[in-house]
Each structure stands twice: as C-alpha cells, then as structure tokens.
Amino acid sequence: MENAFKWLDERLGLNEIYAEVLDRQVPKVNWWFTLGSASLFLAIMQGVTGIFLTIYYVPSPDHAYDSINYIMNGVQFGWLIRGIHHWGASLLVVTVFIHLLRVFFYGAYKYPREFTWVTGVVLFLLTLGMGFTGYLLPWNQRSFWATMVGTEIAGTAPGVGGFILRVLRGGTDLSAVTLARFFSMHIWILPAVAMLTVGTHLYLVIRLGISHIPGEDE
C-alpha cells in the first residue's frame, strides 16, 4: 500500500500538490468567507444535475415542454434533479452576489488580488448569462415571454441593437433557432468559458492565499 503510494507520488507529485494546495497556512476568517466555495459547490451541483437533465431534455419547441413534463412526472426522481437545478440557479446567483459583496466590504480586491477580482466579475456575469439562457429552455409561457422581452431589451442598444437582437434570437423572431442556440450557449459555450475562468480564479486564490480580515489600521 505504502509502496504503491510512493510509486504514484514519484510520478504524479501528490505530496507536492498536497503541500501546495491543502497544507497551507491561511489567515483566520469568518463564515462570510465560505461563500466562494459554496458557489463552487453549487456550480458543480448545477453541472451534475444539468448533465442528468440532458438525458431526457430535447431542445426543440415541439418537444422541450413535453420532455420536461416527462422528467417531472415520468422519470423517477426527475422532480428532484430538476428541482435542484431550478433552485440551484437562484441560490447560485445569491451566493455569487454575496460573495462579491463580501470581497468588496473587506477590500479584498486590492493588491495583490486585482486580477482575481476581474475573473470574479466575469464569473458573476457568466452566472447571470447561464440564468438567462437556461430560463428559456423549459419552453413554457413564462420563459417564452420573459425571453421575448429580455432579448428586446438587448435590442434597444442604439445602432447595433437590431443586429444584437437578431444574433441572440437567430433571426427576427423567437423560434426554434433561438431555443437551439440558447441550449448550446447554456450547456457548452458558457460552461466552457466558466470552467476556464473558475480554474484561473482558483489558481489565483491558492497562489495568493485567502485574504485576511483587515484590522482597523489598514
């Protein structure tokens, strides 16, 4: 057993990883500092439940609504998987936002963590983007009309608005094309960008250490 570990460690550098990532000295912090990893936890939950949902979900106007109905009523624990995904999205927005406020309140975005902050803002926007694109997917009245107005809002930009609206919708109308591209954004493009950004964010957090709670003289 010990030999096997040694063999692996020699090749993978497990001890180094342990020393660098886990066995580090960090400042004492309070409960507000747990929201970063809580956001990561929720994001992972979203990923896992989202992958499960794609097993039955069909991104087409003819079948999207019925396939969601099937997940809710026809599949065992479908209600749980979708329920977690649905509520997880809301909670994720909340935790990410409070996390952002915490960083602001303790001035943790200042030297040397400026770039960590920038990646964090990117992640915040990605979370909102995931929320917006995911909202359309059930293809029900609520999601349809909310997206109709949401894309209309983007279309009010002077000059390029009409173009942006057509890019978002994939044409002038909210249609099957819109659903397909929102689906693609929701499950491939935005998560891919988010994973890269989360990686950078975590790398920076480990490299620079968790910020400390500033004292009165700081």
Binding site: P61, M148, V149, E152, I153, T156, F163, R166, V167, R169, G170, G171, T172, D173, S175, A176, V177, A180, R181
Partner: protein, 164 residues
C-alpha cells in the same frame, strides 16, 4: 548568439517564432472567422414582408370602440415553419375614418390591451398608457402606437402588413 544577429539576417530562433505565429494565425482565422459567421448568419438575413391582410367585414367592427383583430402569418425560422401572431386594434370612428393600431407597445414590445373603462390602451410591463388615438398618455414609451395602413374593398377591411 542572437545579439550578434544583424537586422537583415534572421536566426533560427526568430524564424521558428515567425513560423509558429504564421501557422497559428492561419489556423485561428480559418476556424475562427467561419465560426463567427456560422453563429451570426441567421441575424444577417433581412426579411421583407408586404402583404394585405383581410380583416373581415367592415360592418363587424363597432363604431367608436377599438376592437382587437388577431391574425397569424406563417414563415420559416431556420428549419422551422412557425406562425407569428399579430394583434391589431381596429378603431372605426365614423363611416369613413378607420385606424388600425398594432397592439405591440412601442417601449419593449409587450402587448397592450384596450381598457374600455379607462379609455386607454394599457401595457402591463411598465405601466404605460396610450389614448384612443394611440398617443402616449403616460409611461416610458418613446412614441405613439404603430399604425397600419388600411383599405376597404367590397366591404372588407384590409390591413397592410409591412416589415423589414
């Protein structure tokens, strides 16, 4: 070694860098540009529409009260034939004067509806109101309700649908 290199002579290191940049750029452009136009191409097709829509007999519209007329137009959206619904408020003021307003709010395209007791078109999204002539009474809309051209043939009302 590189320090000795003259401006005209490229050493191996510099050559490799140029080749890498060049090949990398080619690959990036050949995949990247088509990728972008692949994504945005549905947005580039401008659609034009110019139709006279029959809206039923003129006599069926009461005098003085805006009456909603709905119609649908089917068109291709990508691979899908989908029907688009339109709502028109037809106002017959007297025997001759007919106005037809789109029921799309000029603010953010929510649908307005005529409220007889308030004598106004109300938009549920941002509390806007338009009067019977389509003018903004209050709320954020930037301009009056859009008006459709109308014509009457053999007692049938036609509405001119023009887009693009």
């Amino acid at each position: 070694m590189s320090k000795k290199t003259s401006a005209t002579h490229i050493d191996r290191r510099g050559f490799v860098k140029i080749v890498i940049t060049f090949l990398g750029t080619i690959m990036g452009v050949v995949i990247g540009l088509p990728g972008i136009s692949y994504f945005i191409s549905p947005a580039l097709k401008a659609e034009k529409k110019d139709d006279w829509i029959p809206a039923g007999e003129l006599e069926s519209y009461p005098l003085g009260t805006p009456t909603l007329f709905n119609f649908t137009q089917t068109k291709m959206n990508g691979w899908e034939r989908s029907s688009q619904s339109y709502g028109v408020y037809v106002l017959r003021e007297d025997e001759k004067k007919i106005t037809a307003f789109s029921n799309v709010c000029t603010h953010l395209s929510c649908r307005v509806s005529w409220k007889e007791d308030e004598k106004a078109y109300l938009c549920p999204c941002h509390d806007a109101a338009f009067d019977i002539q389509g003018e903004v009474i209050h709320g954020p809309p930037p301009h009056p309700l859009d008006e459709y051209q109308t014509k009457i043939e053999d007692g049938t009302l036609y509405i001119h649908l023009q887009e693009g």
